[in-house]
Subunit: 338 residues, 4 copies
């Protein structure tokens, strides 16, 4: 970490800062120039509060040289992490497709969708049992009953299941869930992350609605620092001024993450845009950007099928997306698991 | 709610949509023009999933006429809600100043700061016991011990205490807290909001980092719909592209909220900018915008006092801010409680 | 256009609004419900100032049913526009690659780069002569001398040239330019757009740094409404809170534009991110998203080659990108022109 | 400027960079640590392209210690710049109110509004003759005829006039304009800025829709570096995800600018929000934040008066705003000019 001190500052205040840094067990490399004094911090600065230093009156700027995350950092773990979920691998040259309905609604619905997406090429089944909803008056999901129905669909099809947790109070109910999803709104629910870090279950960590890449990796670090190395990152769109799409899918984040971390990264094109017609082009774009997989909403039920238009695809549309993905994967050196 | 159907759509799909709307117990007013068909929904549309309709292929646009929140809506509750905290009132023509350190660190620290801010004009004491931190390696607060120290400071000074909760698992520890704060990162932690709705303790609900005004009011609605009408909203800056300040304080939100809701609204100028030099001008700006109060960080301890610069003010600076506020309050027809 | 009037408004004010609308030559369809009055505007509403109506006190909301652009609108021109530049076609199933250096620096530089990128697969040559720079102290380009050098490179290689105009005062100097680029900062320089609309030269219209898709199409409409139908849109990243990349490339905009307009759409991955390592994955992502081409920075000169790192690729890296693009194009039904 | 080199980089590439820096006439201070090499640039770095260095593969980070603007920098000009417009002063402890209609429409309209706002306390008259409009089909202003009407209103009332320029081709028509406004969309129209720098007329430079504070100051620097020191900055809202207000007024920018530059700073609350009901609270908030003045839309004509609701105030509402401002000014040590 490099701290640049403003010109002509009270020497005593600079010394106070240096002593405080030394008190944290760090070394100091001082370079005094004509226009500014530069303090280099030597040692493990990951615990130093950069925000505190930045706001000091004598400080011009602070630059972190070392990233504040370790477990998630590719520098200390150059090889891709490969996460195995029931024989299906995330990371490396593997490409996985997770598919299923937005919400679990009935035994028949979830089993039929599971069979349809499996046939079309999906390897894992998604479905919401606990649903985070902006309005307290909206349907909040079937809860534990939804988890039971997912388990039935898993037994029926052999597909591992992926579903969202909203509170650490439900953690025992997620014993049989193969991948536990943390939604965008809970990306910085640190108590929940800490608790998930004590499990070994793979965690699908969605990016917060306005999270920077670094904040997202720090949330992965929360889970990993507690002992769970199995984190799959999921880009799902960020909030910008553009309102035509619900969110702006940030595909630049994929190659950036591939440089900075060894963790697998997938994309959710359904929630990013909220428009089913955009799912295919953005799925193909995700392949091009280097994604390790996709999580796609597929429905078969009459309510959502109402007018062929919600963010979910019908099974035959999903099948068409998978076929196009297969045409593209060789260009990025990946293979779809099936 | 008004749904505009695209030109030349399959009549059967339009009928499907109309029947689905009727199935929700709503009336339908149909207006068929040359270029578009318009469906007006009649009845209580607060439970209708606007997102689902918007994404249908046959739909051009959906406009909500009725706001999706009721308990928080000024239309159904024209008078300002006044929330009394230990004799100090939020709302109406009252103006409250909450002050205290970022984190509770020791008995001596919290009592000394409490005495100093009380003398300068603060009526409630803030202080963090559970601290949400981006990094798992940063200091996470003293937890329940911090709550005990806050209680000591309350006994010593008579000031009601305001402190943040991070998980519904700690709710019993907050029995003696006078105002429970929900931080920006937890604004859409719906399980937590639901639980707080079952209390009567006033809730200080901070705006999420990228929350719209409507989403914020919907989070207030979560608390209120469970039975707790005592919600104080707190603007604390939103995330934008501008990086000179940590966040962009959205003071337009104050008069907008005053129109839309009857709940009290206060401002946190310390966290919004992260720069103590900006606390005074933004406190005065908040008064001008019509805020019902402020929550300001004040410190007296040597570590933060290091170089007079963190986002916290020293007690004498805080006193100067209060004096300037007093000069401005008559222009907005408010009176500071003391 | 649909105007929803608030409940219980002064009837006289509503009548004023209706008369004002009729005064614009529009018909009115009135629907009075229990909770709101709805005014439907009938006729060509593209000239109606939606902003003015929206801000009226009696108005709850205004929804535009008809898009405010006509010439650019796919509804009135369902087939893809194909723009031919010296035999190279933009639009339809064609895929073009424009390449060249950031700035024209010398005859040798521009000719060498032109030859290299042509060999690797580029069909048009880009190069900046007039450079928009944030700082008045930065190099502003060679100006008309740069244009002359581009012309030499064109003569040498047969490649049509693409270069940026910054002011309508230079328009005569651009006589021999094959595609005139309008940069992001000038997307709403309406006097410039009007002037370019009087030419027939194809215009490469970059998206403004914070422009919505609709504003961008309205700027195309400025050019088209003056008589120049040859507009190529170019996505180049938008400004968001994320600072790791210089801008956030909005690839969702590609399929959205493909629905709304018949104009060709290309992507600039070099400026979007400012990081050359990201050019390849984002080029492939652009192909997946359905782009009609790319504009890529390539250099061969020692200053930029300094450490192999600026946003420009070296010729051999560019060649590698083109090869991967070729592997992907069949999946989206496009063919690279060569 | 401080450049941090990544660990274990090719020494030759580092030397290339050092030689390139020296070639720019700068000195180099090298500090080689165990984990990183740090290069300090010594001398005038305002012409160094920080973007180029940042994107080099060997570079970890670049930090500018010295601001890239000089003429606008308070460090080199500690006293407030006071700009005199026809005897009315901007800057220091002065507070000016500019008012007038959105567009000049007729002689009667502009003279009546001018008289009304003068009586209420405005000292300068605003009015649009050239109007930047998103749509080519919207009213574009009366152009030079509008300028003539403004001049008549000036002769009638003695008020200096403020109006927007959209192209350097009109510059001769602006000879008698007292303050030339550069709109948000043209903040980075560098050819226009250069030309305005050759005048002595005060320039009202509005902030670009998505401009950072630094970019805004760099645009002021364009004007000042050409010889015109009379720049008044005007905050008018930035584009964010929040859509309830048209833009988000960034009042934190006021005290930040007051630290960084000696130029006067005013606020436009009318365009920032687009809602006349918000003009009063945001005007008062601007006073609290330390603004040197306001520019407010006021109308008297029947079309805009339609339903009392556009972003313009009626004269009597404007008068009420001025009265409240007068109550607040003493708290910030300013005096309204009249």
């Amino acid at each position: 970490m490099i701290v640049v001190i403003k010109k002509d500052q009270d020497r005593k205040q600079v010394d106070n800062l240096i002593n405080w840094i030394k008190g944290l067990g760090l070394g100091v490399h001082l370079s005094e120039g004509e226009n500014s004094t530069i303090i280099g911090l030597i040692g493990d600065t990951s615990k130093v509060d950069i925000g505190l230093i930045r706001t000091l009156d004598i400080v011009e700027s602070v630059t972190r040289v070392q990233e504040p995350y370790k477990n998630a950092n590719r520098k200390f773990h150059p090889q891709d992490t490969i996460i195995d979920v029931g024989g299906h691998k995330f990371g490396g040259n593997h490409f996985q497709i997770i598919a299923g309905p937005c919400s679990v609604e009935s035994e028949r619905q979830i089993i039929e969708v599971a069979q349809a997406v499996k046939k079309a090429g999906a390897t894992l089944l998604r479905g919401g049992a606990f649903k985070p909803r902006t309005s307290p008056y909206s349907f909040q999901g079937l809860g534990v009953d939804g988890l039971a129905l997912l388990k039935k669909a898993k037994n029926e099809t052999g597909m591992p299941i992926v579903t969202e947790i909203m509170s650490e109070e439900h953690i025992d109910d997620f014993d049989d869930v193969d991948v536990i999803q943390v939604g965008a709104r809970n990306m910085q629910n640190f108590d929940l992350l800490n608790r998930l870090g004590k499990l070994k279950t793979p965690i699908l960590l969605k990016r917060g609605l306005a999270a920077t890449i670094e904040e997202w990796l720090m949330s992965a670090e929360y889970i990993m620092s507690e002992g769970n190395p199995n984190v799959i990152l999921c880009e799902r769109g960020i909030r910008t001024y553009e309102t035509y799409t619900r969110n702006t899918l940030d595909l630049s984040a994929i190659p950036v993450l591939k440089e900075r971390t060894h963790l697998p990264v997938i994309v959710d094109p359904s929630h990013a845009t909220g428009i089913s017609r955009l799912v295919k082009p953005l799925s193909l774009a995700s392949v091009g950007a280097g994604s390790d997989g996709l999580i796609i909403e597929v429905h078969n039920d009459p309510i959502h099928a109402l007018c062929d238009g919600a963010q979910s695809l019908r099974p035959e549309q999903f099948e068409d997306v998978v076929k196009s993905i297969d045409l593209m994967l060789p260009a990025v050196g990946k293979e779809r698991d099936s």
